[in-house]
């Protein structure tokens, strides 16, 4: 069974979500629920770190799109941290995600 870890931390009005492992059809619903449960309406910025995600396909991209449209409605800024050499960089680029969120190569 595909496994992914969702870790969250918050500081000064921003919320960090770190994803690791893999996301495909088998675990997408679980990952989506975990992210949804973790994000409140309090932060002004949500950053999602994909550095340690070793595989993601359209099932994972769909989660990010749904999250992006929710946050847009709440006026919360979404940032994706995807280093240039990270395994999911290409799929994120291909998805046209840049129009919805800021893509950053590193967490600092």
């Amino acid at each position: 069974m595909t496994a992914a870890k969702v870790e969250t931390s918050a500081e000064d009005g921003s919320m960090h979500i770190t994803l690791s492992g893999e996301i495909d059809l088998a675990n997408a619903a679980v990952v989506e629920d975990e992210i949804r449960a973790a994000v409140s309406n309090q932060p002004t910025t949500v950053s999602v770190d994909l550095t340690d995600l070793t595989y993601m396909d359209s099932a994972g991209i769909r989660i990010l799109f749904v999250l992006a449209s929710r946050l847009q409605a709440l006026r919360i800024v979404l940032e994706l941290i995807v280093p240039l050499d990270s395994p999911t960089r290409r799929i994120v680029e291909l998805s046209g995600f840049e129009s919805l969120a800021t893509l950053r190569p590193g967490s600092h």
């Binding site: 088998a26 359209s58 769909r62 395994p87 290409r90 799929i91 291909l94 998805s95």
Partner: protein, 530 residues
């Protein structure tokens, strides 16, 4: 001795002869007991054999006492009538059975009045008890005691030799059943193993095991339980299962062996085993090893002489007070071969261990694994059976030239996606695909297989077939099902097909009557054509 008794004794002799050789030990004892009842004109006769591990006497055969064997009656040493005979190793007579001189109600229930019992001894070592009983009060004579002791000698000998034979057979069957019947098929890896039993036909606790973990790691185990026979084979079976379970929990080889060590020290006191655990990472590029007192494997690189791997040996499992265990990492380039073995291979009479290890290194080359196993056995063991059991496992990482196409057929269910990805990743790494090409092909094949899982079949389900082959400089991946795709129902799926297209140099989706064929072509190098 009266002539009639002498005649009956000859009957007992006949019972122990070849005529009844096909009977197992229980049936043979029943036959003997029937003759004893006739010989001594008594009503019941019972044999209890000592279970050495629990130090209890177990009712093994009975004549004239219904159901005594089936009840599985066990009597501790020293307790009651039979226990007293066993503890004292002397004949005991009870003329009037009552609550004070027998332990179990089974005897009075059958209305037994008088008892005579003698120990079953093999050169002064107790192996059980034989006793007879009468329904009417009986005063046993010295002659009768002597006669029963003669019978006991024969019973003891028959029981012992039969039990030894049964144990040998059981141990051989157990060991055979515990060695993997078939080695796993792992793309990019060639595997072969041999097991050569020792010349005396007995078995030892040698074992090997090869299995994959859900994380994609490939584990190779070789070990040797100290001791021989059924006991060692039995412990070996438990260690094998425990090691598999501990490997499943994750961690490096040293951690896994540490858990096994704790298990052995707690549950198998007085047992000791040497074990070597080697784990290939999913890309097959590195091998992680930890040795619990086991001889180091031999490694051969292509066109180079073989050498012993520099794996430090930590304490065997089952030895308390050892220091921390270590894991060693070795790079395994394509074409390299590693040979694991048990000490029976290198411990030869009249040859020093160093000389044997040198012979082994001379025999090992980075070539096909099956012929290598045959060569090593021929050169180190020769034609005569070895003095100790020998187990060897040879593993070779295929070089990209030797990698053929790969096929995988799995149920079209979400959980299979991960297994497909692992296998594809491994194959791509073996053929030397660049990281960017690997990432692209994983997504393209991942999307195609996800489509099959989501859209090809109704509730009855079906399978998805993945075929990968090298058509230099391209990789050709084919994903096939035997269903019919429904139109993508959500935006997400439409995106999936877009990803497939963007991650391949050429994509062909062919919906036929017999199913759908998706053919993906992608260059092996970093950049695709796009």
């Amino acid at each position: 001795m009266p002539a009639a008794d002498d005649h009956r004794l000859r009957q007992i002799d006949a019972v122990t002869d070849a005529a009844l050789a096909h009977l197992d030990v229980e049936d043979l004892l029943v036959e003997l007991l029937d003759r004893v009842r006739e010989l001594l004109r008594i009503d019941t006769a019972t044999v209890l054999l000592l279970d050495s591990s629990s130090q209890q006497l177990v009712v093994t055969a009975a004549s004239g006492v219904e159901g005594a064997v089936r009840q599985g009656i066990r009597i501790p040493m020293g307790k009651g009538f039979a226990g007293r005979i066993a503890a004292e190793k002397q004949p005991v007579i009870v003329e009037r059975v009552d609550q004070t001189n027998v332990l179990y109600s089974t005897i009075p229930e059958h209305g037994i009045c008088s008892l005579l019992g003698v120990p079953l001894l093999i050169s002064e070592t107790l192996i059980g008890v034989l006793y007879v009983g009468t329904l009417d009060p009986r005063r046993f004579t010295d002659d009768e005691v002597g006669l029963l002791q003669i019978v006991a000698e024969r019973v003891a000998f028959a029981a012992q030799s039969r039990r030894a034979e049964v144990e040998r057979t059981a141990a051989a069957v157990l060991q055979r059943s515990l060695l993997p019947a078939r080695l796993p098929v792992v793309p990019g890896i060639e595997l072969a193993a041999r097991y050569v039993p020792a010349e005396n036909g007995g078995v030892s606790g040698d074992w090997y095991d090869v299995f994959t973990l859900p994380s994609g790691w490939l584990c190779i185990v070789i070990g040797d339980v100290v001791g021989r026979g059924l006991g060692a084979a039995d412990v070996m079976g438990r260690l094998r299962s425990a090691l598999r379970a501990y490997a499943l929990l994750g961690g490096d080889p040293a951690e896994v062996l540490g858990r096994l060590d704790q298990q052995v020290q707690h549950f198998e006191p007085d047992m000791m085993a040497t074990v070597l655990l080697a784990m290939f990472e999913p890309s097959l590029e590195r091998l992680y090893l930890s040795s619990a007192g086991h001889p180091p494997p031999v490694c051969a690189l292509p066109n180079q002489p073989a050498a012993l791997l520099d794996v430090p040996s930590d304490h065997p499992v089952g030895v308390p007070g050892g220091l921390r265990r270590r894991t060693t990492t070795i790079n395994i380039p394509p074409g390299a071969l590693v040979c694991f073995y048990t000490d029976g291979l290198v411990e030869r009479r009249n040859i020093s261990l160093d000389a044997s290890l040198e012979h082994l290194c001379e025999a090992v080359v980075a070539g096909p694994v099956e012929s290598l196993c045959a060569k090593v056995i021929t050169q180190l063991v020769g034609r005569d059976p070895p003095g100790d059991d020998v187990a060897i496992v040879a593993v070779r990482r295929q070089d990209s030239g030797g990698i053929g196409p790969f096929d995988l057929v799995v149920p079209a269910l979400p959980w299979a996606l991960r297994d497909i990805r692992l296998a594809v990743r491994r194959w791509l790494s073996a053929v030397g695909a660049a990281p960017r090409a690997v990432a692209d092909l994983l997504v393209a094949v991942g999307e195609a297989t996800t489509n099959v899982v989501e859209h090809a079949y109704g509730p009855a389900g079906g399978t998805v077939t993945v075929h990968m082959e090298l058509q230099s400089p391209d990789v050709l991946a084919t994903v096939r099902d035997t269903g019919s795709w429904r139109l993508p129902s959500s935006e997400g799926r439409g995106r999936g097909i877009l990803f497939m297209r963007n991650c391949s140099d050429e994509l062909c989706i062919d919906h036929g009557r017999a199913g759908t064929n998706v053919v993906i072509r992608r260059r092996l190098t970093e950049e695709g054509l796009q």
